[in-house]
C-alpha cells in the first residue's frame, strides 16, 4: 500500500439540513418565485442538490420595494451601534455554523473542503466582524462628519467564492446603512440561501437583506431597477460592460470587480521553494476560479528551467478529487460551460505553440474536472497569455530584466492583481510601484484581509472593496 494514497477522509454532510426546494428570501420571508424553477447540482457528481426559484422582474420589484421600505422605516433610522450589533451577531452565527456553511459551499461549488473550511468561511466571518466595527464610526470613513447611506444596493455576485463575495457585498453595505437585494450566481445559490436562514436567526429586520435567485435575466432586472441607488457587481468583464451601459446616465453609484490576468513575477533572487508554493497557490487555488489568479508566470530566464522543473514536481503531489475529502487539493470545475471554456482555450494554447504539461492525476468519471496544467514557452501574443481562462491553467513566460518584467506584466487589458517574488526588499518596492494592478502581493499570493482594499485598473473594473475604501463605496458626503 502506498502511504500517499491517503485513506478517504470525507467531511460528513450530516451537519447539513437542506430543504428540497428553496424560494426567494424577500422581506424576511420565503416566497415562491414567479420564474421557472431550476436545479442546483454538485459539479463533482452532477447530482441534484435542491430546486431553486427564479425571480421574475415582478419578484425583483417586490424585493426592491421591501428593501426600500426597510431602508426608509428601519435601517436608515437605526443608530450605527445598533446596526453594528446585528453585524456582530451575523459574524458570530457564521462562525457557529462554519462547518455547515463550508460543507454546503464545497458541495455546491466544487471547491475543496480544506479551502471552504480554512479560507472562505473564516474570511466571511472576518468581513462581518470588520465592518461591524465600522458601523458606528462612519464619521472617520474619510467623507467628513455624518456621511449618509446611498439607499438600496443591488448586488450581483459570482460563483467562484459564493459566500465570501456575499460577505464582501453585504457587510459594508449594511454597516454604511444601506439595504440590500442580492442575487447569487445561478450555479451556486446554496450558501446564500443558508445565509438567509442566518439572517432570520439573527433577527435582522425584514427587508434589510433580500436574496433573489435566478440567471442573468434576474440580475439584469435587478441592476436596471429604477429604485436602486447602488449597483455592485463581481463577475466577467463582458457582463460588467453591459451593466455599465445599462446604468449610464442614471445617478446609481457603481462598483465593478471584473476579470484579471495577473502576472506573478519571479526574480532569480527569490526564495525558490516558497515561490513555487506561491505560484501553485496563485493559480491552482480554487481550481484557478479566481479573478485575481496569478495566471501568467513571469520567470527570470536564468532560473526558468529550475522553476518549471520544481513546479512540475510539486504539481505532481496535488490531489484532485472529491471536494468533500479533507485531503483534496484540487476540486471540481464549477460547471460544464466553464469546463468547455477551459478546454477550448487550452486547445488554442496548444495550437499556438505552447508546450502543454498536465499533472498526472486520475480524473473521476462523473462531474467536471480539469487536471492542473502548465503551458511553457508562451509568448505575450498567445491567446492564453491575454484572455482570462478562469481555470487551473498557468502560462509561463520569461523576462530578462526588471524593466522587461514590468512591461510584460502591465501589457494586458486587465489590472487586478500581481505578485512579486524576491528576497530583495528594495527591488520589490521599486517594481510594485510601477505595476498597474489594484493589488500587488510580495512573496505571497491570494491573501485577503478585510482591512485591505481590493479592486482593479482598466478592464478589471472600478471601485474598491474592503477596508475604508470599500465602505466609501456605500456612502456619500453629508448634504451641504
Amino acid at each position: 500500500m502506498s502511504f500517499l494514497e491517503y485513506a478517504p477522509a470525507p467531511e460528513s454532510t450530516s451537519i447539513l439540513h437542506l430543504k428540497k426546494s428553496y424560494g426567494l428570501f424577500i422581506d424576511g420571508e420565503w416566497v415562491d418565485g414567479r420564474g421557472q424553477n431550476f436545479s442546483t447540482i454538485s459539479p463533482a457528481t452532477e447530482k441534484k442538490i435542491a430546486t431553486i426559484a427564479t425571480a421574475s422582474p415582478k419578484d425583483v420589484d417586490r424585493a426592491v420595494a421591501a428593501a426600500r421600505t426597510a431602508y426608509d422605516r428601519v435601517w436608515s433610522k437605526m443608530s450605527g451601534s445598533d446596526r453594528g450589533k446585528y453585524l456582530f451577531r451575523i459574524a458570530r452565527l457564521v462562525q457557529e455554523r462554519a462547518r455547515e456553511l463550508a460543507v454546503a459551499e464545497s458541495l455546491d461549488n466544487g471547491k475543496p473542503i480544506k479551502e471552504s473550511r480554512d479560507v472562505d468561511v473564516p474570511l466571511v466571518a472576518a468581513w462581518f466582524f470588520y465592518y461591524a466595527g465600522w458601523a458606528d464610526k462612519l464619521d472617520y470613513a474619510g467623507l467628513g462628519a455624518n456621511p449618509r447611506a446611498l439607499g438600496v444596493a443591488a448586488q450581483v455576485i459570482p460563483w467562484n467564492f459564493p459566500l465570501l463575495m456575499l460577505a464582501w457585498k453585504i457587510a459594508p453595505a449594511l454597516a454604511a446603512g444601506n439595504t440590500v437585494v442580492l442575487k447569487p450566481a445561478e450555479t451556486t445559490p446554496l450558501s446564500a440561501l443558508l445565509f438567509a436562514e442566518i439572517l432570520q436567526q439573527a433577527e435582522l429586520p425584514p427587508g434589510v437583506v433580500n436574496i433573489v435567485t435566478g440567471a442573468g435575466e434576474t440580475g439584469a432586472a435587478l441592476v436596471r431597477h429604477p429604485d436602486v441607488n447602488k449597483v455592485a457587481f463581481t463577475g466577467s468583464t463582458g457582463v460588467g460592460r453591459e451593466i455599465a451601459k445599462a446604468i449610464a446616465g442614471t445617478d446609481k453609484k457603481v462598483t465593478l470587480e471584473l476579470g484579471g490576468k495577473a502576472a506573478n513575477i519571479v526574480f532569480d533572487d527569490a526564495p525558490i521553494d516558497q515561490a513555487v508554493e506561491g505560484i501553485v497557490n496563485g493559480i491552482f487555488f480554487n481550481q484557478g476560479h479566481v479573478c485575481c489568479a496569478g495566471s501568467r508566470l513571469l520567470v527570470q530566464e536564468n532560473i526558468h528551467e529550475e522553476v518549471v522543473g520544481r513546479l512540475k514536481q510539486r504539481l505532481s503531489t496535488l490531489r484532485l478529487g472529491d471536494p468533500l475529502d479533507k485531503n483534496t487539493d484540487i476540486g471540481a470545475i464549477n460547471s460544464k460551460d466553464q469546463l468547455e471554456r477551459i478546454r477550448t482555450l487550452s486547445d488554442i494554447g496548444e495550437q499556438e505553440g505552447g508546450e502543454r504539461w498536465s499533472a498526472p492525476c486520475m480524473i473521476p468519471e462523473n462531474g467536471f474536472w480539469f487536471a492542473p496544467t502548465i503551458f511553457d514557452n508562451v509568448q505575450t501574443s498567445s491567446t492564453i497569455a491575454r484572455e482570462e481562462i478562469f481555470g487551473p491553467v498557468l502560462s509561463v513566460l520569461t523576462f530578462r530584466t526588471p524593466a522587461e518584467a514590468i512591461a510584460k506584466a502591465n501589457n494586458t487589458p486587465y489590472g487586478l492583481s500581481a505578485g512579486i517574488w524576491s528576497d530583495k526588499g528594495s527591488k520589490i518596492l521599486a517594481v510594485a510601484d510601477k505595476l498597474r494592478a489594484g493589488v500587488v502581493w510580495a512573496n505571497t499570493f491570494n491573501r485577503f484581509d478585510p482591512a485591505s482594499p481590493f479592486g482593479g485598473y482598466k478592464e478589471s473594473g472600478y471601485g474598491r472593496e474592503g477596508g475604508r475604501h470599500g465602505l466609501n463605496a456605500y456612502l456619500k458626503g453629508a448634504a451641504k
Binding site: L4, Y6, A7, A270, Q274, N443
Partner: protein, 336 residues
C-alpha cells in the same frame, strides 16, 4: 599581493561539487549563494501539510511506521546501566500486550552507555532493516559541543570502539554563527573519520545542527548544506536540550535540502527531527511532510528517524485504540 585561502579537508562530496580547490572561500561562496528562505511562506506550507487528515488504514500504517523510525532515547546525567536496560527492553518489546508491534530503529544513549546498551540488546542488536535494533551514541561534547577537537574526536572514537552503529554529533554553533564555516566543515570531516572502524567500515554519522540556536531558516539551510557537503549521513535538528527543538517548518526545510541534494547528485541523505515530538498526531504530520517533500521512499530507518522518548507510548496508546476501538490509559503501556 596574494590572498590566503586556507584549504579545507578534501571531503569527497565537497570536492565533487565545488572542485579540487576546496577553500574556506569557495565553501562560503557556495553557502551564501543558496536561495533564501521566506519564513512566512515556509511556515505556511508546513501548516498546510499539517492539515492532512490521516484516517483508518493510512493511520494504522503510519503508527507502525513511526515506531519503526524511532530512536528511543535517554540522555540524562542520571542514566544508569539499569535505566539503559529498561530502555532497551522497551525498544525490543514496545507493547507486551501486542506481539505484532514492530521494534524501534535504534536506542540513543551517551557514549559511555554504549556497552550497557549492546549487552542488553544481545541478539537483538543489528541493522533495523533486518528487524534488529541499532545503537546510536551522542558524541563530540554533546549537547554544547564546547570542547577541543581532540576531545570531540576521542569522544567519538570511544563510542565507535565500544560498538556504536551510529554517531550523533553536534556542530560547533559558535563557529558557525561567527561565520567560520570552514572550521565547522573540517570538524565534521574529522568526526566522520573518527567514525571509521578497524575493519574500514564507518559508523553512520548524524550531524545535529541545533536549529534552535541557529535561529534563522537561512542559517538552517546553510548548515544543512554544509553538513551534507562534509559527509554527514543524516542531518538532525536538535539535541533536545534547547528550546525550540524540532519543528515542522525546520524539518520541512531540511527535507527540501535533502531533496535538492538528491536531485543534484542522486545520493540520499537522511533527516532526523529530534526533541519535542510527543504525540502521534504530530509524528504523523512529519510522515506526511516527508512523503510529500522527498517521497515515500524516505520513510525507512536509513533515511528518516524520530529522536524521541515519550512519543513511543502515545503511539502505542493510539495503536491499541485502533485495535480495540477504545482508549486506554497510561497504565496500559509500560514506562521505561
Amino acid at each position: 599581493m596574494t590572498i590566503e585561502h586556507p584549504a579545507l579537508a578534501p571531503a569527497e562530496r565537497a570536492v565533487q561539487l565545488l572542485g579540487g580547490d576546496l577553500t574556506e572561500k569557495s565553501l562560503r561562496l557556495n553557502l551564501e549563494g543558496l536561495s533564501g528562505v521566506d519564513a512566512v511562506g515556509l511556515e505556511q506550507r508546513a501548516a498546510g501539510l499539517a492539515t492532512r487528515s490521516i484516517k483508518t488504514t493510512s493511520k494504522k500504517w503510519a503508527l507502525d511506521k513511526i515506531i519503526e523510525l524511532i530512536d528511543l532515547t535517554t540522555l540524562e546525567g542520571a542514566d544508569t546501566p539499569g535505566k539503559v536496560r529498561s530502555l532497551v527492553a522497551k525498544a525490543i518489546t514496545p507493547d507486551p500486550s501486542d506481539p505484532t508491534t514492530p521494534r524501534v530503529a535504534a536506542v540513543c544513549v551517551y557514549g559511555d552507555k554504549v556497552p550497557d546498551a549492546i549487552q542488553a540488546l544481545g541478539a537483538a542488536h543489528g541493522d533495523p532493516d533486518d528487524g534488529l535494533i541499532s545503537v546510536a551514541a551522542v558524541a563530540t561534547a554533546f549537547p554544547s559541543g564546547r570542547a577541543s577537537l581532540r576531545v570531540k574526536l576521542a569522544d567519538t572514537a570511544d563510542a565507535v570502539a565500544a560498538g556504536a552503529d551510529e554517531i550523533d554529533m553536534v556542530i560547533d554553533r559558535g563557529a558557525f554563527l561567527a561565520g567560520r564555516y570552514g572550521a565547522v566543515f573540517d570538524e565534521i570531516v574529522a568526526v566522520k573519520e573518527a567514525c571509521r572502524r578497524a575493519d574500514g567500515s564507518y559508523a553512520s554519522l548524524k550531524v545535529i545542527l541545533e536549529t534552535g540556536e541557529l535561529n534563522t531558516y537561512d542559517n538552517v539551510r546553510r548548515a544543512s548544506w554544509l553538513s551534507i557537503l562534509a559527509g554527514g549521513d543524516f542531518i538532525k535538528t536538535s539535541t533536545g536540550k534547547v528550546t525550540p527543538a524540532a519543528t515542522l517548518p525546520v524539518t520541512l526545510l531540511m527535507l527540501e535540502v535533502v531533496r535538492d541534494w538528491h536531485r543534484l547528485t542522486g545520493e540520499r541523505v537522511g533527516v532526523k527531527p529530534a526533541g519535542g515530538i510527543r504525540q502521534s498526531k504530530d509524528a504523523i504530520r512529519y510522515l506526511v511532510t516527508v512523503a510529500e517533500t522527498v517521497g515515500e521512499e524516505w520513510l525507512q530507518p536509513h533515511l528518516f528517524r524520530f529522536g524521541a522518548s515519550s512519543l513511543l507510548n502515545d503511539v502505542l496508546l493510539q495503536r491499541q485504540k485502533m485495535t480495540t476501538g477504545r482508549y486506554s490509559g497510561p497504565d496500559y503501556v509500560t514506562v521505561d
